[in-house]
């Protein structure tokens, strides 16, 4: 019995250990100064100490966290509103939601490209404002892509994240048992009350899943920041990339130390967030 379970899981556990765990182990080892390309070194925590003192890393961490939070929260909010709006339409019209698949299919690199085309100072929106006489020169258009707070990146993440949230939340909403709402209405609940007490609690699990996936993706992603990112302070992923490829090999443990901390953060965040969401759901149910 037991053996069957282990055998059944092996096709996945083997590559998991050989690729994922081994890759992580090596990242960790190199961050401690071991198994470096220049030869085996001595174990040291010095690279982590460097990180704590490095102001630039703190700025990058702040940018990564704020971009990830704003883009994930905005995506979940936008996806939920769109899903609700589509849900209120007659089922035949609801199919137009299929156009959101465009955002799902576009690679992140292309989403960043679109933001460049639309929102750069010589982009489409700027041209439109110029033609209508609202601005007199491209310099008057707000420099959205270089504000230092990652607004351009957030726009690109939203283009990818809104349809993703719509997909997850719509899947729950479009299969919603309409009788629950009818019952609530019959018992005298107003539209807002129905939303807060009947609809929202059932959407929350999907909203939490969407948020956690999008938040962690944006936190560690490379493609969009590489196209749109500003160099200072720069997202954490870009900082790692710069140290890894553009400075000499001696610096590599520094990059690996940042990566190790990013992994720990992502894993702990995912775990705590799940606990927290489960706790909140349990608490709601008791009410």
């Amino acid at each position: 019995m037991k053996r069957g379970i282990v055998h059944g899981l092996l096709p996945l556990l083997l590559p998991y250990c050989a690729l994922f765990c081994a890759g992580l182990a090596l990242t960790l080892a190199q961050s401690l100064g071991l198994f470096l390309p220049l030869g085996p070194g001595e174990i040291t925590a010095g690279y982590y100490q460097n990180l704590i003192q490095d102001q630039g890393v703190k700025l990058s961490l702040g940018l990564s966290l704020s971009v990830a939070f704003l883009s994930a929260a905005g995506s979940v909010l936008g996806g939920t509103i769109l899903a609700l709006a589509l849900w209120r339409m007659p089922p035949g019209l609801r199919r137009i939601g299929v156009v959101s698949k465009v955002g799902l299919i576009l690679p992140h690199v292309a989403a960043a490209f679109l933001v460049l085309l639309m929102f750069s100072q010589t982009g489409l929106v700027s041209s439109l404002l110029f033609q209508t006489g609202i601005i007199a020169s491209p310099e008057e258009f707000p420099n959205i892509l270089h504000t230092g707070n990652g607004l351009g990146m957030i726009l690109a993440f939203l283009l990818k994240g809104v349809p993703f949230s719509l997909l997850l939340i719509g899947a729950v909403l479009f299969g919603f048992d309409i009788r629950l709402i009818q019952t609530a209405r019959m018992l005298g609940a107003g539209p807002w009350r129905v939303f807060w007490s009947v609809i929202l609690p059932r959407l929350l699990p999907a909203m939490h899943s969407a948020f956690i996936i999008l938040f962690l993706y944006a936190f560690g992603s490379f493609d969009i920041p590489f196209v749109l990112g500003e160099s200072h302070p720069g997202m954490l992923s870009i900082r790692v990339f710069d140290i890894f490829f553009q400075r000499d090999l001696v610096q590599r443990p520094q990059a690996m130390a940042i990566l190790t901390l990013m992994f720990v953060f992502a894993a702990v965040f995912a775990m705590l967030y799940n606990r927290f969401a489960a706790y909140l759901d349990g608490w709601r149910r008791k009410l």
Binding site: L12, V99, L117, S127, F130, I213, L216, G220, S237, L259
Partner: protein
């Protein structure tokens, strides 16, 4: 009505902008109406080599990633759907990690190992690392598929004397096809649109569509970049349509004779 406008602005306008930009590479501030030209198309027609290589390579490793993730997860999904054992929740959580944590964190270390064992700069290396970030989607889809199917059909077939492989092929597989198609679509998209991992592990010797697109959008050749992005949109759409049609035909043949 406002919903339709918002949807169109969010998702149709970008496509329109891409089409206009592709048809007018010389489109610059502050013109609104572009002047039509086919320079982008002409450029691709004159030098189709790198473009087609990148497209074929991306399609190849993405489809291979789909096949590999399917092979990796089909048995484990069954175990996770039907069996219970101590530590199952923890294991399920751990198995989702590769899709949640930043891919950089393990791939940079893995890159070093791949250099040592000769998998760096090769297509198999790229497929392995892509399968690692994408398999959780296939695992989730298949586990759900098995749960919806239940065990009763398989048990019934076994009781009627069917060998294990026939139970799988004739009873389970047909019912799992929709779940497989759903998982495969996501895995394909993840692999097909990944830029960084192909660039890191493939090291420039594995051609990719994203790698072809990247220099175009950061350079001034935006018309060509837009054209290539449009192809990027069309290829998965065509594949998904083919998949839907294939499934539809299969079911019609199977259930209606």
């Amino acid at each position: 009505m406002p919903t339709i406008i918002v949807l169109a602005l969010l998702f149709l306008l970008p496509v329109v902008v891409l089409i206009l930009q592709a048809g007018a590479p010389g489109w610059r501030f502050p013109e609104l109406m572009p002047e039509l030209s086919f320079d982008g198309l002409r450029f691709l027609a004159a030098r189709p080599g790198p473009f087609l290589t990148a497209l074929a390579s991306s399609l190849g490793y993405s489809l291979a990633t789909v096949a590999l993730t399917l092979a990796m997860t089909i048995l484990p999904a069954q175990v996770l759907a039907f069996r219970s054992f101590p530590g199952k929740n923890l294991l399920e959580g751990l198995l989702l990690l590769p899709a949640l944590v930043p891919a950089m964190t393990f791939s940079m270390g893995l890159h070093f190992i791949f250099i040592k064992i000769g998998l760096a700069d090769t297509t198999p290396g790229v497929i392995l690392v892509l399968a690692m970030i994408a398999y959780p989607y296939m695992l989730r889809a298949l586990t759900t598929g098995y749960m919806l199917m239940g065990r009763e059909y398989a048990v019934c077939a076994r009781n009627l004397g069917a060998p294990a492989w026939r139970v799988f092929l004739d009873v389970e597989l047909p019912q799992l096809l929709p779940a497989m198609a759903a998982g495969a679509s996501v895995v394909f998209l993840v692999a097909f649109s990944e830029y960084f991992l192909v660039f890191l592990i493939g090291g420039g010797s594995v051609a990719s569509f994203t790698g072809y697109l990247f220099p175009l959008i950061t350079s001034s050749n935006r018309g060509l970049g837009a054209l290539v992005t449009l192809v990027f949109l069309t290829v998965p759409i065509l594949l998904f349509i083919a998949l839907e049609l294939g499934l539809y035909r299969y079911h019609r043949k199977r259930w209606m004779g």
